[in-house]
């Protein structure tokens, strides 16, 4: 256990050091440049953290096997985009929706700056929840891996729909010019600090909601059925209903993540939602961080995205051409190997799952501390 904590600490420190030192060295030790770089980085980690939290609810707690995060990412991002954009500017850009300006319902509160974004995020969450519910009907009663195959399929299909349906969300050309919440209140140069704040607040809210629900009786049923469905069913729980709820809850969180992503990027292209950058990377984050532990999920997002960004920074250093043209393939290869290595050598991840997840038991223990393990047998002998 000791060496485990050391590994966790070391991974965190190494990534942090690389993230501070490399841009600092490149920008000639300019503090403002480093801070700006780190803010952008942290915003992305916060957004990806939402997806990993959603995936953690599904896989880490409910044991539902979603290999198509990209589908929910895509649906969330595009739904949010069409709710916040205005009508199409030219005849070459075609998409449905474009409700942005019509949602300015409370002009005296300058609602144009926030209401469409709120509605967009809620709509994104709703759409993802409905999609997850529909997917759960044919798959969740069957073996675990059937859902995995079906989710791979839906992710592929969603991307095909976006590309093939010309008038839906502007096909292969993608959507650009998605407005930003409170965008006109701030200087564009400083906006990233504002958005960092928004993303962190949202992440904190979602984290709180997920933690609360997992530490409730509902969350403990999820964990129980992940361990053994038959036993859970025998104690009178409706396994299918609980699994569906876990899957839908995770998908809703992912939908919010997609919306936050769309507002941050300002533009969307179907290529983003490939199964590598839309699904696989989140799995590496969750497995590395520790599935079944929300803090671990966030740590995983930080470490993996840190490694990703560091590998981009490496490009600015001189290296042989044989390597520089292949560095991205090498990085993806290493990410695949990392996933395998973690599952074989340290399946619990950087931060292992807590054994007790109940606010009540924890409160009890705080009031009446348990006797230490060594003393327990002596005490019982005394009786």
């Amino acid at each position: 256990m000791r060496s485990g904590r050391l590994v966790t600490l070391l991974a965190f420190l190494l990534v942090t050091a690389a993230l501070v030192i490399m841009p600092a060295e490149r920008s000639g030790w300019d503090a403002a440049g480093v801070i700006s770089f780190l803010t952008t980085f942290a915003t992305t980690v916060a957004i990806y953290g939402l997806f990993v939290l959603g995936l953690n609810v599904q896989w880490g707690y409910a044991g539902v096997f979603n290999f198509g995060v990209a589908a929910f990412f895509l649906v969330g991002a595009y739904t949010a985009a069409i709710f916040t954009k205005g009508p199409a500017e030219s005849e070459f850009v075609r998409y449905v929706g474009g409700f942005g300006e019509r949602l300015d319902l409370l002009p005296f509160l300058s609602s144009g700056e926030w209401l469409p974004f709120l509605v967009g995020a809620l709509a994104a969450a709703l759409m993802c929840g409905v999609l997850a519910f529909l997917m759960s009907i044919p798959t969740l009663r069957l073996r675990e891996d059937y859902l995995a195959i079906a989710t791979i399929g839906i992710a592929e299909l969603m991307r095909n729909v976006v590309i093939a349906e010309e008038g839906l969300v502007n096909s292969q050309r993608g959507l650009t010019g998605i407005p930003r919440p409170f965008g006109s209140f701030f200087d564009p140069g400083d906006y990233k600090f504002v958005y960092f704040g928004i993303a962190v607040v949202l992440l904190a809210l979602v984290f709180y909601a997920v933690e609360k629900s997992i530490r409730s009786p509902w969350g403990r049923v999820l964990r129980a059925l992940r361990e053994d469905e038959t036993v859970t069913a025998a104690s009178g729980k409706n396994v299918f209903a609980f699994k569906t709820q876990g899957f839908v809850f995770g998908a809703v969180v992912m939908g919010v993540g997609g919306a936050v992503y769309a507002y941050e990027q300002g533009g969307l292209s179907p290529d983003t939602f490939s199964h590598f950058s839309g699904t696989f990377i989140f799995w590496v984050m969750l497995v590395l961080g520790g599935s079944g532990n929300n803090r671990g999920a966030l740590l995983g997002a930080y470490v993996v995205w840190g490694l990703w960004i560091v590998s981009l920074q490496l490009l600015s250093y001189p290296m042989p051409e044989v390597l520089s043209v292949r560095i991205f393939y090498l990085r993806d290869l290493l990410l695949g190997l990392l996933l395998i290595a973690v599952l074989l050598l340290r399946p619990q991840g950087l931060l292992p799952e807590e054994r007790r997840v109940s606010i009540w038991v924890e409160r009890l223990i705080r009031r009446h501390p348990l006797p230490r393990r060594e003393e327990a047998p002596a005490a019982s002998r005394g009786e």
């Binding site: 096997f65 995995a148 590309i163 043209v325 090498l330």
Partner: protein
């Protein structure tokens, strides 16, 4: 007591009977659907039907390997599509000795293609005996690679009694690693074994086919027969089927399960290499094609019934024909969607598949 039995047991038995009836009806409905698809496609879109059968026979070789591994090792191998593509690339390397360089390709001084007469076209086919040799090399290489992967990755997981899903996640890591090895060694641009334009030939009913496609079909049929003989006429095949039914029972009846697992990978690996080469002959070599294959492969395996090689064969034909026929009616971008629709239908109607036992 007797009264209690009569009031509870009889309705239960009736309900049980109804359930069986419903399942039989759904099974019959599914068979009818499959038959209708074949007949309608063959009559209305004969050309697409024939192409679909050929695509389906390539898929079949992949799906048979997938379903064997699925049945015996109990996990969906998400690296299957990418390993198929790797097989095609290994054959390419054995044939031409080419790797991607910084600007132009790097070529080994000696490769199969430099053997005398290796690239002389065999009859009306586009390739010479060199490709057949290269295919054999790829089959051996992939079989060994699969066994190696099993020893390094899956056996430790088996010994740890890891959850099935952990196997699948590991295989996803393998898929990503394999794809990027292909990109590192052969670059992102599509390649072909033989470049050039070749005429298709006219057959009955206005069907136009390249001789390569006829060859693909012939090889697929021959290998399917071989696999059938292996599974149903040899001791090893019996052991494999026993393991597919119940691993623990197989083990206590004296079957060396680890040996059967190694044979399964050997068989699955060589089948997927051949399937990859045939696929590349039919289409092209493209590192990104592997993942797109997963969905049709899994749809075929599940449609046929997991663990049932004959079912996988039939399922692959259905998926191939449905995909190709759909081109006449929908945007070709939706081709992968067809496999998805088949998958959802089968999961809703009859999750154990056409020929499968039970889930």
């Amino acid at each position: 007591m007797a009264l209690l039995q009569r009031t509870i047991a009889v309705p239960l038995r009736q309900r049980e009977g109804l359930r069986h009836l419903g399942e039989a009806a759904r099974g019959a409905g599914l068979w009818a659907l499959v038959a209708a698809l074949f007949v309608w496609s063959a009559v209305a879109e004969t050309q697409l039907f024939v192409v679909g059968v050929i695509v389906g026979s390539v898929l079949a070789l992949g799906a048979v390997g997938l379903t064997l591994v699925y049945g015996i090792l109990r996990f969906g191998n998400f690296a299957h599509g990418d390993l198929m593509m790797l097989g095609a690339y290994v054959a390419f390397f054995a044939l031409t000795g080419r790797l991607v360089g910084s600007r132009a390709d790097v070529t080994l001084p000696e490769a199969i293609a430099s053997l005398p007469g290796a690239t002389v076209r065999l009859g009306d086919l586009t390739f010479g005996y060199g490709l057949l040799l290269a295919m054999a090399v790829a089959a051996v290489a992939l079989a060994l690679l699969c066994i190696l992967l099993d020893r390094l990755l899956y056996r430790p997981l088996r010994e740890r009694r890891a959850h099935v899903v952990v196997f699948s996640i590991v295989s996803l890591g393998v898929a990503i690693a394999v794809r990027n090895v292909m990109l590192l060694l052969w670059g992102p641009n599509p390649r072909q074994y033989v470049t050039g334009i070749f005429e298709a030939r006219q057959y009955w009913f206005d069907i136009r086919l390249k001789t390569d496609q006829v060859f693909i079909f012939a090889v697929a049929v021959a290998l399917a027969v071989l696999v059938y003989l292996l599974l149903y006429r040899t001791r090893l095949g019996k052991a494999m089927r026993a393991m597919s039914d119940n691993v623990d029972l197989a083990r206590i009846s004296g079957i060396d399960t680890e040996r059967v697992v190694a044979w399964t990978w050997l068989l699955g690996g060589s089948l997927l290499a051949v399937a990859g080469v045939l696929l590349a002959v039919q289409a092209q070599l493209d590192p990104r094609l592997g993942f797109a294959l997963l969905l049709p492969l899994f749809a075929a395996a599940i449609l046929g019934g997991i663990g049932n090689p004959l079912g996988a064969l039939l399922g692959a034909l259905v998926v191939g024909v449905a995909q190709e026929t759909s081109v006449a009616y929908f945007d070709p971008t939706y081709k992968p969607g067809v496999a998805f629709v088949i998958l959802v239908l089968i999961l809703l109607l009859r999750p154990r598949g056409l020929l499968g036992a039970k889930v």
